[in-house]
């Protein structure tokens, strides 16, 4: 139940910061099994959200969403002739990037979106009022509002929590733990970045000319959103995987929007409390 009063009463000082945690998703090791998708849904008890075939290779998930926090993409490549030269089937497990400068967090008027002690971006469900400002702010289209009929309160924002609950007990997030081929690696961001640089060099030496890292502090994709705490090793250009070459922050208009959103957010919350409060 959205309740502004309760929300304000709940706020406490955050725990002391720890080392930044994140994912290095190495697509050169991905076999497209989707264990990450299921392990995520299992741990977070997210519902199945639709039984429709897309016809887009083996991807019937489509996009990340309020109840889908890992999404394996499939890209079929081959030269258009019968010999199928250079045939590749690229697979990549997409996830919230946990940006250093997270647009969603900056857009959030209520303080529901926070940066945790692990330097991850987290939506506090007891605070989110469902205003939805975070949704268009995200340059990756990750965060999403819960549909009308589902296990979540309609309209509230959801995305990967980097298994915030598990991190508290030093457990590996469900997706990374299940990944059978170590395509999804979890750990301290700095250490993962080192590992990624080493891995890229190794692949280049093996002749993977198109391989590149996406989301490193030195990458141009970090220009506005900063380094990504869930970053990737790709085997082709970012666009191939539907990743923006340079993800943008909606910063220019942000001051303005922030003021509006705070006001609107509060308004929503009050209306919500009045309208939905009776239903309970």
């Amino acid at each position: 139940m959205i309740d502004a009063y309760k929300r304000l009463m709940n706020v406490e000082p955050p725990p002391p910061p720890k080392k930044a945690r994140g994912f290095f998703t190495d697509t050169s090791l991905c076999i497209g099994c989707k264990a990450c998708e299921v392990a995520c849904k299992q741990w977070n008890q997210l519902p199945a959200d639709g039984f429709a075939m897309t016809g887009n290779s083996y991807d019937n998930t489509g996009t990340l969403g309020a109840t889908t926090w890992r999404h394996v993409q499939f890209v079929e490549q081959a030269k258009a002739n019968s010999s199928r030269q250079d045939q590749r089937w690229l697979m990549m497990s997409d996830v919230c990037k946990h940006c250093a400068n997270a647009a969603c967090l900056e857009a959030c008027p209520t303080g529901a979106l926070i940066r945790t002690e692990f330097d991850t971006v987290y939506v506090q469900q007891d605070i989110c009022n469902g205003c939805g400002f975070c949704v268009p702010a995200c340059p990756f289209g990750v965060i999403d509002r819960a549909p009308k009929h589902g296990q979540f309160e309609a309209g509230t924002a959801h995305k990967c929590t980097l298994c915030y609950d598990r991190l508290k007990d030093d457990m590996t997030p469900a997706c990374a733990k299940s990944c059978p081929t170590a395509s999804i690696q979890f750990g301290d961001v700095e250490e993962l970045q080192q590992r990624a640089r080493h891995r890229l060099a190794e692949l280049k030496a093996r002749g993977e000319a198109k391989a590149e890292l996406y989301g490193m502090p030195e990458g141009k994709e970090a220009t506005e959103v900063g380094q990504l705490h869930a970053f990737f090793l790709l085997l082709d250009k970012p666009q191939t995987y539907n990743l923006p070459e340079v993800p943008r922050l909606p910063r220019k208009t942000m001051g303005q929007r922030y003021g509006w959103s705070a006001a609107v957010g509060l308004g929503f919350a009050l209306v919500g409390a009045l309208v939905f409060g009776r239903r309970q």
């Binding site: 929300r7 709940n10 706020v11 406490e12 000082p13 955050p14 725990p15 910061p17 930044a20 099994c33 989707k34 264990a35 998708e37 299921v38 392990a39 299992q42 741990w43 303080g111 926070i114 940066r115 945790t116 002690e117 330097d119 987290y122 506090q124 469900q125 007891d126 605070i127 298994c163 915030y164 609950d165 598990r166 508290k168 007990d169 457990m171 590996t172 469900a174 733990k177 299940s178 990944c179 059978p180």
Partner: protein, 167 residues
């Protein structure tokens, strides 16, 4: 890193496995790789199934099916009582387990007694029936397979005892 204030729920967030009463080692029911699983139990209910990091086979990992084991076990669509369909009937009926077991034993006996062949037409010892068949076992324990073979072959003389290995 700048942190904002947090809600009490966020502060108190914890993995549900922290409060598990027991953690039990199991084996994945799907393919034959034999991934070891850990089953977390609280209040006599399964609350989580994950890969067992100690296993030299899967080292904590699972595939999507293995990762879905929790839902295979904890699922509202499971059949939890005996369903019985009488000959020519158009609906299932719920029946007590004991009743069904008695009735099945009766039917096995009737069919066996009516079809048992002690000797072939040319007088060779057969001691078998081909009117009853069993199929299954590949997703079941070896102890279960052993009792099926022992009861149906060594006890009843059924010869068509088969399982998925034949398919």
């Amino acid at each position: 890193m700048s942190q904002q204030p947090m809600s009490r729920e966020s502060i108190e967030k914890k993995p549900r496995t922290r409060d598990a009463d027991t953690v039990v080692a199991s084996v994945c029911p799907y393919c034959a790789v034999g991934c070891s699983q850990l089953v977390y139990v609280k209040d006599r209910r399964i609350i989580d199934v994950e890969g067992n990091p100690e296993s030299p086979i899967n080292e904590g990992t699972l595939c999507p099916k293995g990762a879905a084991t929790y839902r295979y076990l904890v699922n509202p669509n499971r059949v939890t009582s005996v369903r019985y369909r009488a000959p020519y009937s158009d609906h299932w009926e719920e029946r007590p387990l004991d009743w069904a077991m008695d009735r099945i034993a009766q039917r096995i006996k009737e069919t066996r007694d009516a079809s048992f062949v002690e000797r072939t037409p040319d007088g060779k010892l057969a001691n078998q029936t081909t009117a009853i068949a069993t199929l299954g076992g590949a997703t079941m324990d070896i102890e279960e397979n052993y009792l099926i073979k022992k009861l149906f072959s060594g006890g009843l003389g059924v010869v068509s005892i088969e399982n998925q290995a034949r398919i």
